[in-house]
């Protein structure tokens, strides 16, 4: 006898899927489709419909030096903040894994930053890194003019990177710690018996065995560094000084809603989407090969 639940009519099955399909369509495909449509048209300044312009929006964006500057800034931001967030988290997780007393507390405490809304944490870091009163003011006192994110583009970029990395260190830490603890203790002990020291054990045993987690976090961190950076940039630097921190996602907002260039902003969104897709494909093609799945 057939034990499975079956539906007499295929329509019933479809009906069960409909709520989810509506959600996905309404909140993903429809807006994405609209963005594609807008990017290929020019919105009339005083209303009255869109004029079809083909790829003109893309041509004008890609001919703009400011936009290329924004792409460079985004890539720099993505590379450094992902690197920082992952390396710091891995170091913390490795240390925690070795000495387990209190690790439960770390787990809870370190996930909190991820739960803080980007603008809130950006505001906090704006105060912490303020050149006149914050933590860096002490450095400025001994070395006047050393730190001023309001004037120096590199300082501004550093501030944004620090704030973003801080948020993701906690997130990465949880995954790294879980991955490290999933490695059977006897493997580490066997390596110790084989004469391997702490550092050597990390590179020879633990690191290869957590590569699936490293790969997962790499994809997530890079994607998020393109998308989740908006709130931090908006509060801390508003893209300045001199566009130094005008990341792609922030430029979409400022061109679209401040510059009122909806069509150009839509075209930028499409480019950002394609860039993230491309980066993810690259990671899967070239990095995933080196991952050891157990």
């Amino acid at each position: 006898m057939e034990k499975r639940v079956t539906f007499g009519k295929w329509t019933i099955g479809i009906l069960f899927a409909v709520p989810q399909l509506i959600l996905i369509f309404t909140f993903f495909y429809w807006p994405a489709g609209q963005a594609v449509y807008w990017s290929l048209t020019l919105q009339q300044p005083w209303g009255g419909g869109n004029i079809w312009v083909g790829l003109d929006n893309f041509r004008s964006i890609l001919a703009n030096a400011d936009y290329w500057n924004s792409i460079t800034a985004s890539l720099t931001f993505a590379a450094i903040s992902t690197g920082l967030a992952m390396v710091i988290a891995l170091v913390l997780a490795t240390l925690t894994d070795r000495q387990l007393a209190g690790s439960r507390l770390y787990r809870v405490v370190l996930i909190w930053p991820y739960g803080i809304a980007a603008p809130a944490l950006a505001l906090a870091f704006r105060f912490i890194l303020a050149p006149e009163a914050g933590f860096m003011a002490a450095v400025n006192k001994f070395w006047p003019g050393f730190w001023d994110p309001g004037l120096n583009g590199a300082d501004a970029m550093a501030s944004v990177i620090v704030a973003f990395s801080w948020k993701y260190v906690g997130y990465n830490f949880i995954f790294f710690l879980a991955a490290l603890q999933a490695i059977p203790r006897s493997l580490i002990e066997a390596a110790a018996m084989d004469g391997s020291g702490v550092i050597r054990r990390f590179w020879d045993i633990q690191f290869p065995l957590i590569t699936p987690t490293i790969f997962f976090l790499l994809v997530i961190n890079i994607t998020e560094s393109f998308q989740d950076s908006f709130g931090i940039v908006d509060i801390m630097t508003a893209g300045g000084p001199a566009n130094a921190t005008n990341l792609m996602v922030y430029k979409i907002y400022s061109d679209g809603f401040r510059g009122l260039d909806y069509s150009g902003a839509a075209a930028q969104s499409i480019i950002l989407m394609l860039l993230i897709i491309l980066l993810t494909i690259v990671q899967f093609r070239f990095i995933e090969r080196r991952v050891h799945y157990r």
Partner: protein, 366 residues
């Protein structure tokens, strides 16, 4: 080859002491098996020798040098783990050769030594495989190879056969024995399986509750168990134990319903003892035979080569191993007979062996 000297070794976790002052001398080239139920501290003791657990108190010396403060790699021990602990991302050859790689042995020599070990363990055709693609027995062999290649002073085995099926276990057991004969390295083998322990050991160390109960050859441990625990733990089916009280003319058993006519040399009348007799040492005779204990058959377990007969002796369960030719029926009455030389006496208070009953009346009688 190396001797191991263990002096007053203790292990405590927080406030719990799990190993209570163990003393043990392991001679060079000896195969010592530590046997005990789970949680008796046997693995902890082994891991303290290996350097994977800190020694709370006492000293462990290898070849006369105290190793308490040495890292595992400095002690010259190799260990085979219960779950094999093979590196899943490395091939068999890499697994076996890892210690050499760490030690900086040149690649050419490494390959040569891996080949040599693989030949002994019949792993040559598997060298390129990952552990995932191996069977349990093959993994076990790789784990052995990883220990062997370092030519260690001491081999440590932490229940290495318990994850294998029964047939493979017997096979690997004899391979380990052969390997030891060939390499003649000092070996310490931890197990809870008494058959494994009896067959492998030059000397057996029986542990219980963090203490060593007895050290001796398997034959000694079997024939003269030092305590009630050892008597019931070693041997299958377990030794029969009957509680008794020393009386003027022997030992009264089971609250006075039965009596053994043995001399009570030296023991005060009224002291409590446990009388043990191995199921293999009991003969079944016709009920009512003079000098036999009468009992009722409860259950018969067929073993093929013989049977285990469980009988009821005034409410106490008693087992007898019989030959193939005897066919007792459940519910029937039988007589149980045994030589006094086969009886073991233990103090009911301390559990220790009492030897005062030796050489007295030859036959136990009702």
């Amino acid at each position: 080859m190396a001797s191991i000297t263990i002096r007053d070794v203790r292990k405590s976790y927080a406030k719990m002491q799990v190993v209570h002052g163990v003393n043990l001398d392991i001679r060079s080239g000896e195969f010592v098996v530590i046997l005990g139920p789970s949680g008796c501290g046997k693995s902890t003791l082994l891991r303290m020798i290996a350097g994977l657990e800190e020694i709370s108190d006492g000293t462990i010396a290898i070849d006369g040098a105290v190793v308490n403060r040495l890292e595992p790699r400095e002690r010259g021990c190799a260990m085979v783990f219960q779950n094999y602990a093979l590196y899943p991302h490395m091939s068999v050859a890499q697994n076996i050769g890892y210690s050499l790689k760490v030690a900086g042995v040149p690649a050419a020599e490494r390959t040569q030594r891996i080949q040599a070990v693989a030949r002994i363990l019949e792993l040559e055709h598997l060298l390129d495989r990952k552990p995932m693609a191996l069977s349990g027995g093959q993994r076990q062999r790789v784990a052995m190879g990883r220990a062997m290649i370092r030519e260690p002073k001491v081999f440590l085995f932490d229940e290495p056969l318990s994850n294998l099926d029964a047939k493979l276990r017997v096979q690997m057991r004899s391979e380990i024995r052969k390997l030891h004969r060939r390499l003649n390295a000092t070996s310490v083998f931890v197990t809870h399986d008494q058959v494994e322990a009896m067959t492998l050991a030059d000397r057996l160390v029986v542990m219980n509750g963090g203490c060593v109960e007895q050290v001796g050859t398997p034959a000694e441990v079997y024939s003269r168990p030092a305590s009630r625990f050892v008597a019931t733990f070693v041997g299958a089916p377990a030794m029969n134990m009957l509680e008794g009280t020393v009386a003027l003319d022997g030992v009264s058993l089971l609250g006075g319903s039965r009596k053994l006519n043995v001399s009570r040399a030296g023991l005060p009348v009224g002291s409590k003892v446990a009388v043990g007799v191995r199921p293999e040492a009991v003969r079944m005779v016709a009920p009512g035979t003079p000098g036999a204990l009468d009992a009722t058959v409860d259950l018969v377990e067929e073993l093929g080569a013989g049977r285990v007969v469980y009988v009821d002796l005034d409410g106490a369960s008693f087992s007898v191993v019989t030959s193939e030719t005897v066919h007792p029926e459940p519910g029937s009455a039988v007589g149980l007979q045994f030589a006094e030389s086969d009886l073991h006496f233990f103090s009911s208070e301390t559990g220790g062996r009492l030897d005062v009953f030796k050489a007295s009346v030859p036959e136990a009688a009702l």
